[in-house]
């Protein structure tokens, strides 16, 4: 049974953690987006400032409310400010 969220880290979030991707275990009923972000910031203190400036993205769609529930099997991406072009 899937117990983990797939966390994707881009740009400064990736360099802060040193990885592009993590498996992050969450309770079977899921966890609020803001709480998951807090857990990541605690585990990776260098990630904290980037997290505050980033957009959180669940399964490809921006997380509008901090209470949005992230469930096992979800993809949870940290998007620092964009800089294409």
């Amino acid at each position: 049974m899937v117990r983990a969220v797939r966390v994707l880290l881009f740009a400064t979030a990736r360099t802060a953690v040193g990885r592009r991707e993590l498996e992050w275990t969450v309770p079977p009923e899921g966890i609020q987006a803001s709480e998951l972000a807090r857990e990541l910031a605690t585990a990776f203190p260098k990630l904290a400032p980037t997290l505050r400036a980033s957009r959180l993205v669940r399964n490809g769609h921006p997380v509008d409310r901090p209470t949005t529930r992230i469930r096992p099997g979800d993809e949870f991406a940290v998007h620092p400010p964009y800089g294409g072009g």
């Binding site: 994707l8 881009f10 740009a11 400064t12 990736r14 993205v57 490809g60 769609h61 991406a77 998007h79 620092p80 964009y82 800089g83 294409g84 072009g85």
Partner: protein
């Protein structure tokens, strides 16, 4: 016609973009290309920029921009191509192109596309100096730009 939206690891070509923008009633064609510049401000020259992308959401936003250009500006053909991975200085990182009946909407739509692409598409860049690392003496965020 959202086939005109593309993420590519291969070099981008303005000639290909021009070919994608043909049409006998499309009097005005505007193509913008953003190239990786050598950065002259830092102690080390930028030799390349690495572009990172979150592909699914990036393509979704790009397709929305394509639709916006058609609906708001009357663009009839649109090209929205971004390169990903390592792009050496002098090469093209992004191309936006618009064909419309007249020149005013073509210019307006092209400008809209590149401005909004830079702010809203999940693509990130990291400069690389000759060694393949970030230029010495640089602070985050990187200041080199393809098209500023």
């Amino acid at each position: 016609m959202t086939g005109s939206v593309r993420l590519s690891r291969r070099p981008l070509s303005m000639a290909s973009a021009a070919r994608a923008l043909a049409g006998p009633d499309l009097g005005g064609v505007v193509v913008f290309a953003g190239r990786v510049r050598r950065d002259r401000r830092g102690p080390a020259r930028v030799r390349a920029i690495d572009y990172e992308v979150h592909p699914g959401p990036a393509l979704e936003v790009m397709r929305r921009l394509d639709r916006d250009a058609r609906r708001r500006y009357g663009a009839e053909e649109v090209v929205l191509w971004h390169r990903v991975g390592r792009v050496p200085a002098g090469e093209i990182a992004v191309i936006v192109g618009v064909a419309a009946g007249h020149r005013a909407p073509a210019f307006a739509a092209a400008r809209y596309l590149i401005d909004v692409l830079k702010r809203t598409v999940p693509i990130w860049k990291t400069e690389r100096a000759r060694s393949g690392r970030r230029p010495r003496g640089r602070r985050h965020p990187p200041t080199g730009r393809s098209s500023g």
